[in-house]
Symmetry: C2
Subunit: 254 residues, 2 copies
Amino acid sequence: MEYTVQKLGKMAGISTRTLRYYDEIGILKPARINSSGYRIYGPQEVDRLQQILFYRELGVSLENIKDIVTSPAFDGSAALKEHHEKLLEKRGQLDLLIANVEKTIALTEGRIKMADKEKFEGFKQKLIDDNEKQYGKEIREKYGKDAVEKSNSKLKGMSQEQYAAAEKLGADVMETLKDAFATGDPAGELAQKAADLHRQWLSFWWDSYTKEAHAGVAQMYVDDERFTAYYDIEQPGLAVFLRDAVMIYTGMGQ
Amino acid sequence: MEYTVQKLGKMAGISTRTLRYYDEIGILKPARINSSGYRIYGPQEVDRLQQILFYRELGVSLENIKDIVTSPAFDGSAALKEHHEKLLEKRGQLDLLIANVEKTIALTEGRIKMADKEKFEGFKQKLIDDNEKQYGKEIREKYGKDAVEKSNSKLKGMSQEQYAAAEKLGADVMETLKDAFATGDPAGELAQKAADLHRQWLSFWWDSYTKEAHAGVAQMYVDDERFTAYYDIEQPGLAVFLRDAVMIYTGMGQ
DNA sequence: ATACACCTTTACGCAACGTCAATGTCAAAC
DNA sequence: GTTTGACATTGACGTTGCGTAAAGGTGTAT
């Protein structure tokens, strides 16, 4: 079987430009050049291309692929493991990024609805100030990375509808919470209902629910001004009230 | 407060080159240029830089950031949402990639222990052949993407120890399965134990277990030659035997 | 006066190709 | 036999977000 660039390209699902590039950088040279200067590839080249594409699929750089396919003694297994590590790291970073974007979206949306833009700007500035760019990292350190990771992992699998449902639940929490706040009693029925809604809302983001984690998050709302602001912008004192309600709800108050 | 490039760069944690580049592409021009041609930045520029860096942190391209910071009426929220979509997609791809790498590592390790390298090479070639590069995608289409995503999402949160435990369980499955195969009875005690171990193993990868999904996977081992090969390389017929055992175990045989 | 840190513009380099441009070749249709 | 249309070739520039010289002017302390 002999192939020209286009045939091989079609078979492998890559462009002819790519094949010429691979020739250029020396990782896949054609078996021969015919009288008209056409690149002609044989079965060996097909195999090699398959190897190349395989590693490329895995995100290995062509530079490294070159080492892999040219050196026969290359330890592909070790390279794969190292690469695996890098991929996991990359995903971790990506997860943080996604969480941050989500948080930002939620914040801006909440803000735009209920506050003036000026303050928003000021707040956002403050957010970034004092090296808070490391947002996720900081939260990780403060409240343990497990919660953050749980949240991230759950989010992944969520469908649009689920996401919408979660958002609605979040709104419900806020509404019930405000009503409860009016009663002034965190142990009261309304407040406990708010705490329960909050648990349901959390369950959307976490794989497993525990009272401890729930209570921890509620405390976080009070400790971390970003979250405090999110709740208190509706009603000052709401974050503390929610924490108190959750503490009672979870029985973690003492 | 006025800043030269280096002072501002130091404050913001970026290089002077970056500042000159931002000037060049027009997303951050200095307040004025002094008599010697030096770039002088004022408080407004500091604020703007903070905004830019904020969005940059979120992975937004400078091109898009330009739109955000230059047009005051720009809908940053919508831009962020779009960006969010892209990030999710990216993570999906990354997950597939990671799954592929893990599978490859598992395969190579298993193979090296129990088969000659030649066959392995042939198999890998075959794997990629017939457009099977779209590995994950294909599996997704064939057996529903839910299972794949479940698997991915679970993997993320696993610790090293958990991973090791899962691998041991996998080995147990194989061992028990081989013993069971010797009896020839997929309904027998050993075979059912193997099926149960297999369920446990699956539970490592899936958030939720259902009989239907379990049976589906077992069928997949038979339908998909890649998996068939994985089991049958130890003992021809093992994949079919496991499927039969699981069908009985789950009661999905009919 | 000299050193030394700071500033400037210009411009190439990076990864992995995409995308013209200008031109030659092949098989089939007229 | 020629025309057409699909294919091939080699350049060579564009992409992103800067890093990294190079070659030179400026500011200030000694």
